[in-house]
């Protein structure tokens, strides 16, 4: 972006080079532990998927600082309209790991009752984490709409919506920024430029100089941030949040980072990501960098670092065990949670279905031939 440097606070060796935000030590440690937990959960989920224990997962490695840094700048009363990989944001705000594992296993304790794709979480509590949707960019105008509602109610709630570099090519991005710019809505548009839209590199995604500059055309200030720098991410989002709450309007933040894994468990990034690119980004690992900073400040030692990892492992292992054992969703839940009151047409369908089920038992391959 012409004339504006990428916001950065920490060097790769953990030395502060920019303006260090004021953050309580407890908050820093909580953020660190959440980053460790996020990465471990991500690695474990991939192994579960490879062993056929869960159906699908979304690699997260490398983007932890973007997620946790942003989440740390939000209040529990704020809203997150997340992208695909943002479960770290929910973990930061205290969503239990078990709840995510229930979702991965699509079991009866999953709050979507096994009807969502694995990892497409939604949580109402402790932070409003709106359902992750696979379609690209559709949640961006939703965030703007929700923010508009808060504006009209006179609330000072902030709305963070997150999407990838590919998401900026969606209609939702355009619509969202148009309206937020005009309404001066309290929205933080977080573009996670992780280098790739599945296999499409960022330099083929846009002809503009980065993604932050796109905000200008909508009257939305844009800023580029080192996405592997927790402190820079926190600073940028905190500034944007303060602006949003005070009526200053939206901000577009481009977090420059790198997706170190595949797009999803169905993807093979070795076919398109140059090995050299991975190597150079590995040196910028956000957790390693943040850990160095914490150690420099005397907030973290070997024992504490090990404890954080052990705690993450224990937590995830216990959650996996519980989720794998949990029963499948009751068939009847097909008809719940969609309408406040089941409409007669669905009620009839349900009645017919359960009637059929009670007579035929579980369906087998080839069942369902017409007429029933």
């Amino acid at each position: 972006m012409a004339g504006q440097a990428v916001l950065s606070v920490l060097r790769e060796d953990g030395v502060v080079q920019g303006q260090e935000p004021e953050i309580a030590p407890d908050t820093l440690l909580h953020a660190y532990r959440t980053m460790v937990l996020t990465r471990h959960l991500d690695e474990r989920a991939m192994r579960l998927q490879r062993a056929g224990r869960i159906g699908f997962t979304v690699p997260n490695k490398g983007v932890e600082a973007v997620q946790i840094g942003s989440a740390a700048a939000l209040r529990a009363s704020d809203w997150i309209f997340p992208s695909y990989r943002d479960f770290g944001m929910a973990l930061y705000h205290g969503v239990p790991v078990e709840q995510m594992l229930h979702g991965m296993f699509c079991n009866g304790l999953d709050n979507s009752r096994g009807r969502q794709m694995p990892v497409h979480y939604s949580f109402a509590d402790p932070i409003r984490f709106v359902s992750i949707s696979s379609p690209i960019g559709t949640h961006i105008p939703q965030a703007v709409g929700a923010a508009r509602a808060a504006q009209q109610r006179g609330e000072d709630t902030a709305f963070l919506t997150s999407f990838g570099d590919g998401g900026t090519s969606s209609l939702g991005f355009h619509s969202g920024l148009v309206f937020a710019g005009v309404w001066k809505s309290p929205v933080i548009f977080l573009c996670q430029n992780n280098g790739w839209a599945i296999s499409c590199p960022a330099d083929k995604q846009t002809g503009s100089d980065g993604f932050a500059v796109k905000g200008e055309g909508y009257g939305v200030p844009g800023v580029q941030v080192d996405g592997n720098d927790f402190l820079a991410m926190y600073s940028a989002v905190r500034t944007a949040v303060a602006r949003a709450r005070s009526g200053g309007g939206p901000t577009l933040i481009e977090a420059i980072t790198m997706r170190m894994g595949g797009h999803s468990s169905s993807d093979d990034p070795t076919k398109y990501v140059p090995a050299a690119m991975l190597e150079s980004w590995a040196k910028k690992d956000p957790i390693v960098r943040f850990e160095k900073y914490l150690r420099r400040r005397g907030l973290l030692d070997d024992a504490q670092a090990q404890a954080a990892l052990s705690a993450a492992e224990a937590q995830v292992a216990a959650a996996v065990e519980a989720a794998e054992k949990a029963p499948l969703p009751a068939t009847e839940t097909i008809f719940s949670d969609v309408y406040a009151e089941v409409p007669p047409s669905l009620r009839k369908q349900g009645r017919d279905y359960f009637d059929l089920m009670s007579r035929h038992g579980e369906a087998a391959a080839g069942d369902g031939a017409f007429p029933l």
């Binding site: 309580a24 908050t27 440690l29 909580h30 532990r33 959440t34 192994r47 579960l48 490879r50 062993a51 056929g52 224990r53 529990a76 705000h93 205290g94 239990p96 790991v97 078990e98 709840q99 229930h102 009866g108 304790l109 009752r113 509590d125 402790p126 468990s265 169905s266 993807d267 093979d268 070795t270 076919k271 404890a307 954080a308 052990s310 705690a311 492992e313 224990a314 937590q315 995830v316 292992a317 969703p329 009751a330 068939t331 009847e332 839940t333 008809f335 719940s336 009151e341 089941v342 409409p343 007669p344 009620r347 349900g350 009645r351 359960f354 089920m357 009670s358 007579r359 007429p371 029933l372």
Partner: protein, 438 residues
């Protein structure tokens, strides 16, 4: 315990995978999540980890082999001499405290996830029963087609008051119009007679000596029709004994006459003529109740349904305008209908429009029955087996042939006395079959 590892679908809908390289050999101890084999799919080459700890027993696919998803590719003895899973750390630090957000230290304990069943809007414990018990208009909104709603708005009719004639009491446009014509003072309709029952569905325990077929198709349609009839019409059955000696003699002559024209003459056309005559005399049996309009409909025409036993079950083809047709014509039509019904070639419209039904199981057996009315008709006549019996005629003990006739009527519309009168008239005609010509 031996665990069989089936090659999972690791890429959203792949069909097969190639075993690239085994990373373990039989006898190796593996930890949970330890990589066991490299597999190449059309999407990626990946390392597949063991889902549980144990000792590898057998590798069931060779390197280079392509195997379909779901194939068992290795087996392991669970737990046997296996290293402890690495994920279980020595010191399980209190996880809740670790993730508690400093700003709000009391990270909310995960609200004990309610049993999914409880949240379900439709409770699963007794699914069918629960749903059935619930009012059809769950939303409190009357079930009505859009044109009925429009008509109700136009006519200023309160839909809540309108009895629906559609399935499950669905209000149709004509219901609204009929209601409006009767005026708001008209008494509300009787509750839908076919109100669903609220019993839990019967479950029959499986045994080793039984067969089961799906309850559907014609069988199901018959069941629905019979249930509706039996639980709607207030059945009253009267039985009469008919001396058919003369009738049988006449039929022998008619048979010979028919044979000359290629027509097979059975007893049924005689019964039809007798019934048609009685229906003209007692038209309350040739009626139906229009529940929606709350009107009794009495027909000027007599269309007779003839219950027919087919390999698919009971089917009722209809012979129209019976009083206008002679015995031979009726015989010919019957023969044609019966053949096409049994052959499954009957047209749907030939199964509709009857005003009264005759059911004849006499050829098979049984001395009497209590037939179920072909609803919404209001009467059905059953014809039973011919029996030779001693009888007293003019003070003499003689051998005669008898048949029993049963008549079930819907007592809502037909009084018992009229049912008896109807049957007496039938008896009179059949005992003196010459009267059938009248």
């Amino acid at each position: 315990m031996v665990f069989e590892f089936k090659l999972p679908d690791i890429g959203e809908g792949i069909a097969e995978g190639e075993i690239v390289k085994w990373l373990v050999k039989p006898g190796d101890a593996v930890r949970e999540d330890q990589a066991v084999v490299e597999v190449m799919t059309d999407k990626a080459t990946v390392e597949i980890p063991a889902p549980r700890a144990g000792r590898i027993l057998e590798l069931k696919a060779a390197e280079g082999a392509t195997v379909p998803i779901g194939t068992v590719i290795f087996t392991l003895e669970e737990g046997a001499g296996a290293a402890a899973a690495p994920a279980a750390p020595a010191a399980p630090a209190a996880p809740k405290a670790e993730t508690a957000k400093p700003a709000a230290p009391a990270a909310k304990a995960p609200a004990a996830p309610a049993a999914p069943a409880r949240d379900a809007v439709i409770t699963p414990s007794a699914p069918a029963a629960t749903i059935k018990a619930a009012p059809v208009s769950a939303s409190g909104k009357v079930l009505a087609v859009p044109s009925a709603r429009a008509a109700a708005r136009e006519l200023g009719v309160d839909l809540q008051q309108v009895p629906g004639s559609g399935r499950h009491g669905l209000v149709r446009k004509q219901d609204v119009q009929a209601f409006a014509e009767r005026g708001p003072s008209a008494p509300a309709a009787a509750p839908a007679a076919s109100a669903p029952r609220s019993f839990a569905p019967v479950q029959i325990e499986r045994t080793t000596s039984e067969t089961r077929v799906a309850f559907r198709g014609v069988r199901k349609k018959i069941a629905e029709a019979m249930t509706r009839s039996k639980y709607t019409a207030t059945h009253f059955t009267v039985v009469e004994e008919v001396d058919v000696t003369q009738l049988l003699a006449l039929r022998e002559k008619a048979k010979a006459l028919g044979a000359e024209q290629g027509i097979k003459v059975t007893l049924t056309p005689f019964f039809m003529r007798a019934a048609a005559s009685a229906l003209q005399l007692y038209p309350q049996l040739n009626s139906m109740l229009d529940e929606a309009a709350q009107e009794i409909v009495t027909y000027g025409h007599v269309h007779l349904g003839i219950a027919t036993d087919t390999p698919q079950g009971l089917i009722v083809p209809v012979v129209r305008d019976v009083p206008a047709k002679g015995l031979l014509q009726l015989s010919a039509e019957l023969q044609d209908l019966a053949e096409r019904t049994r052959g499954g070639k009957i047209k749907p419209e030939e199964l509709k429009g009857s005003t009264f039904t005759i059911t004849n199981a006499g050829a098979i057996g049984g001395i009497l029955a209590t037939p179920i009315i072909n609803f919404p008709e209001v009467a059905i006549m059953g014809v039973h087996r011919v029996m030779e019996r001693p009888a007293i005629v003019d003070g003499e003990l003689v051998e005669r042939k008898f048949m029993n006739f049963s008549l079930s009527v819907d007592h809502r519309l037909v009084d018992g006395a009229d049912a008896c009168r109807f049957l007496v008239h039938v008896k009179r005609l059949l005992e003196e079959p010459g009267l059938l010509a009248l």
